[in-house]
């Protein structure tokens, strides 16, 4: 099991639920969430700047939904004012920050709970580095990256660690980047 697969298993159904809430149609939501994960995979490097994975994924999902709505807006030919109005309501809902916060808080809560039930293999990948005490140079060897890169990643990660959850997820990011 790779880190990407673990990430997918951890977040897929939750993001799917949120996207379905935004779009109203499960098939649309599935497409959107697939695109979000594909983007994550294609742009691993962008993850370096991320310190809250849940919030990052939620934002990506929101943006993907907004894009889709924009597309639908063009497609409807504007011939149907009523339909356009519905899209506008969905649109402003996605952009509402108070609403976003409610959803994101619940998402984080769910992730915390889900981590405890993560598949064993996936847990091991993570624990190996953090809790089995592998040295940075050893991680570097295993992952085929320079020791300095590992140093940087770890120190960046440590800066953002405040909660157990964040610690877990930040390290997750390190795996993803080097996958």
């Amino acid at each position: 099991m790779t880190a990407h697969e673990a990430l997918f298993r951890l977040y897929y159904d939750k993001l799917l639920h949120i996207a379905k809430g935004y779009l109203g149609i499960i098939e649309d939501a599935e497409g959107v969430v697939q695109n979000v994960f594909l983007k994550i995979w294609e742009k691993k490097k962008n993850l370096e700047k991320v310190n809250n994975l849940g919030s990052y994924l939620h934002t990506m999902t929101k943006n993907a939904c907004l894009d889709l709505l924009k597309h639908q807006r063009v497609k409807t030919n504007f011939s149907n004012n009523y339909y356009e109005e519905r899209i506008a309501i969905r649109n402003q809902f996605i952009k509402d920050e108070a609403a976003s916060l409610v959803i994101e808080t619940e998402l984080e809560e769910r992730i915390t709970r889900a981590i405890d039930t993560l598949p064993e293999k996936c847990k091991r990948v993570f624990l190996k580095s953090r809790f089995e005490g592998l040295k940075h140079s050893e991680i570097a060897d295993i992952m085929h990256i320079s020791k300095r890169t590992v140093d940087n990643h770890i120190s960046n990660a440590l800066q953002h660690m405040k909660l157990h959850l964040k610690e877990y997820l930040t390290l997750f990011i390190i795996f993803l980047k080097n996958f």
Partner: protein
């Protein structure tokens, strides 16, 4: 509004009438919208289990892996990758606004003016010709006289549904339309406009533009006239103004000649959020940060193209070249970076391209070569 009703709407168990009622309530004020949003957010937060229990993560993962494989395969075509990337960006940038323009296009010469009818048929408009276009029932939709299409005298009965036509003007040409409400529109080179054959009572008058056009809108307070471009909406009651919104330009420019117009970027018009433009002013929408800035301008600079003039005031050379390319349907390459950023002020009234190039050569020491095949290409050398 009762919470119960709103929840029914959120659950999608409301009837059509009930849904409309809730939507009207949401749109009535920002407070209502906020209330609705919070309620909906809480509903989403409390129903995670519904989706989680029914979601097929394994199937999702399978799709994800297939997607990754496809994506990697594309990446391995390293050679063309960067080019493809740009091609894709280009297609998307144009694609979003051209979606309704380009479907069903046949093999039609690039340099002809075309009219796309509601059913997707594409008619070629001959320059300075006279023609009549009829719908399937034999009703006249529009008549062409010279360089003008007139929708004001069609004998289509007042239908409930809006029926659209799209006029596309290639580089090197201009064309005029008289809409059913007698609004006069002049389309500049390289511009498409989609508009209803007949406006309907009780609906906003809406048209969709991609490129540059001058509007002289007939006053009708009950039916606001809205020009929609890919990133800006312009709402007017009756007025004269110019809009320039070419997909390849960094700015969308609106210049007001008389009357007043409101600019907004949201889907629906909200007076408080809109920017009001007064005569003699230009509104720039910077597409990269969506900021609108206003500036006092000489209006004629922005409207002289209607009569075939080209004018620019302190305009970078590269922008001037783009204008010339559109106006004369040529390709112009400039090999000097410095020159591209140098600004010029000039005005040419119905001049030939050769005359304009000569003027630059004589006054600014610019060298150029002209190739006529396969397409007319001008290369400017430092």
């Amino acid at each position: 509004m009762e919470v119960k009703k709103i929840l029914k709407y959120i659950n999608e168990t409301a009837s059509k009438e009930e849904a409309r009622e809730v939507e009207a309530w949401i749109n009535a004020s920002q407070d209502h919208a906020k209330k609705f949003n919070l309620l909906k957010a809480k509903h989403i937060a409390s129903t995670f289990d519904d989706t989680i229990n029914s979601a097929d993560t394994n199937q999702g993962l399978f799709r994800y892996k297939t997607n990754i494989e496809k994506s990697s395969k594309n990446k391995s075509k390293n050679l063309k990758q960067s080019i493809l990337k740009y091609a894709a960006i280009f297609i998307i940038a144009i694609g979003t606004s051209y979606l309704f323009f380009t479907e069903n296009k046949l093999e039609i010469p690039e340099d002809t003016i075309t009219l796309e009818l509601e059913n997707g048929d594409i008619k070629i408009i001959q320059d300075d010709g006279n023609a009549q276009f009829v719908d399937s029932k034999g009703n006249t939709i529009t008549t062409q006289k010279g360089n003008k299409l007139n929708y004001n005298n069609s004998n289509i009965s007042n239908e409930e549904k809006l029926v659209y036509n799209t006029l596309t003007v290639p580089y090197g040409k201009r064309f005029n339309i008289v809409l059913s409400d007698n609004t006069q529109v002049t389309l500049n080179a390289g511009t498409s406009m989609k508009y209803p054959v007949k406006f309907i009572k009780g609906h906003n008058r809406e048209v969709f533009i991609n490129g540059e056009a001058f509007f002289d809108v007939t006053k009708d307070k009950a039916h606001p006239f809205v020009v929609k471009s890919s990133d800006l909406n312009i709402r007017v009651l009756g007025t004269k103004f110019n809009v320039s919104s070419y997909p390849e330009d960094l700015n969308t420019k609106t210049v007001l000649v008389e009357g007043s117009v409101s600019l907004y970027q949201e889907e629906t018009y909200k007076p408080k959020k809109a920017t009001l433009l007064t005569p003699g002013h230009l509104a720039y929408l910077n597409k990269s940060n969506n900021a609108i800035s206003l500036e006092k301008v000489d209006v004629s600079l922005h409207t002289s193209w209607i009569n075939g003039s080209i004018s620019f005031k302190h305009e970078p050379f590269k922008n001037i070249l783009k204008k010339l390319e559109r106006q004369y349907n040529v390709v112009i390459k400039c090999e000097s970076k410095d020159l591209n950023e140098t600004s010029f002020t000039a005005r040419f009234d119905n001049a030939s391209l050769e005359y304009i190039l000569k003027t630059f050569r004589n006054n600014y020491d610019i060298k150029y070569t002209i190739e006529n095949k396969p397409n007319k290409t001008i290369t400017i050398k430092p």
